[in-house]
Amino acid sequence: MSDARADILHRIQSRLRGGPVGEATATALGERLRAHPRSLVPARAKELDRPARITLFIAMAEEVQATVARVARAEDAPAAVARYLAERNLPARVVLTPDPRVMELPWRETALALRAGVAHDTDTAGVSGCFAAIAETGTLMLVSAPDRPTRNSFLPETHIVLLRAEDITGFYEEAWDRLRAACWTGAGFAMPRTVNFVTGPSRTGDIAQKIELGAHGPMRLHIVLIDDAAPA
């Protein structure tokens, strides 16, 4: 197989210039990779203050059938989750992502049946935290880690995400900057294994071009927005 590698690279080089890229070019390209410059950012998401970011995020998320509830304090989130499930007559049990920011909340004050860990097929509702959100398109950004398994966002029919208002960024490049800062090691940027951008619940239009929700992933996406500036 190493032959194939040499062969493909040789073919590319002979079509383009007859040899590897020159030293100067390689240096310039390496610089560009390290600088990772932004391209054009849509004006709708730029230079928004906090309330404007929140408003845009909610509008865009609701447009794609996510639902949003606002609470003033993180401690209020478990009750909001219980209320959401009760209002929709959904089973009163949740699997919590074992993320300390989720686990530290007063879940035991609710009547919910609780489990913490990796989601199974039998879990009806999953609760996750999230790394950031992007107002531009109403998108949640979830990042994997030992206490943040990926499948919890996909297996349960109902996915509930706790989002802190200060984690709502305007646009994608801002979210990448946050990730680069959060995953910076001595050796540079260490990309996490999985970054999930989630924009609304799962959907398909594959049968007779009719959009239906809940294709393989969650049927419902509920966002509990923790905003200390929220009206009580």
Partner: protein, 471 residues
Amino acid sequence: MEATSRSFPANARRALADWGLQDALHTMARQGFAVKRAQAAARLPEFETLRGLAKDMKNEVLQNLDFYLETYERAVSAAGGVVHWCRDAAEARAAVLTICRTAGARIVTKGKSMIGEEIALNEHLEAAGFEPVETDLGEYIIQIRHEPPSHIVAPAVHLSKEQVAESFRATHRDLDPDRPLSEPRQMLDEARALLRRKFLAAEVGITGANFLIAETGSSIIVTNEGNGDLTQSLPRVHIVLASIEKVVPTLEDATLLLRLLARSATGQEFSTYTTVSTGPKRADDLDGPEEYHVILLDNGRSALLGGEMQDMLRCIRCAACLNHCPVYGAIGGHAYGWVYPGPMGAVLTPTLIGVGEAGHLPNASTFCGRCESVCPMQIPLPNLMRHWREREFDARLAPAAARYGIALWSFLALHPRLYRFVAEAAARVLGWCGMKRGRFRTLPLAAGWTNVRDMPAPQGRSFMSQWAKRR
């Protein structure tokens, strides 16, 4: 898959007479992707500027493709993944089969991948004793119907809900034969339950890649169903199928393309799930695959570099060109006879299976230019089709009558005086013949036109001579 592009004219005739297909195509034209794309593009004032920036970015990548691929490979290895370089379809299939065998796989789930179709992976997985299961709903439907996809984004767009219900009844035999299946919702629930079991049982998951990131060694998949995520996060082994031109330098560069992809494809602001994967699960992760393999396929793409066809390597497979093509809109995707239909297929297919096999496809265009006008990567599709027509002509692959006709016309076009004389004479003769009726029902050598409509008779003088007189 066996290409039937050679019989494109017969395929097209069949498609035009297929009422079910015509119905689906009309639904598509009325309320489908083209309408939604126009709305999404109008909502983003920067859309046109982004197209130009995306084109420039990708051109730079192609100019230094070897550099970016080597950078990408280093990053994949650093994250614990393995890159398998494959020159052609056979090498790619062999690499996938070896990984599946080593993993002791039985069930292999698959996310949507056009490369998978290009290398006919399912057939080979089956022949080797594995059970490949397509998990994108549209791909699953065509898999159980043993059909190729008719669209690169919506593979089952040619089918009615009744046809899908029929296939579900024929395939899911352990279910109650009297169950209601009249609505898409019911069929979706049935497929969801059935495929959920496959997701959980699979040992290997295979996905495509919309983009590869050189900087981080990541692969990106974009789906609406979430099937790709279940495919790549549940099994023990994840295989990514990607062709060499999918690489972009950084996360920011991928973001530029992601702003164009969903809007151009389905008119969404952003697809439901965009997932960036980097290597296998980490030391203390609770889930994720233990192995992460990338099949990096060339299959003729490197030969397009540095030549007139290089622009095609910018393609991000959004299908906007299919959705806006009057020819695709009339005949659907199957008539094109291979994996890639529509304008992008008319350009790409001859490069992959040869102009001798697929020479009809670049001829199946009126050069109306809609494809180029909506292509997010500004690929000059009509121009590239014209290149193929020229090559077909040079290789004497076109029918003799067409070749002599074109040779005659080009001789005349290069001799303006003679051209004007012949045009004037033809206008006079035809004008005289058609004087009474003003149009022709039949004309020699023009049956292709007159079989379906009348040919208006010229008014007796050519444009050039009328113009000369007026001056």
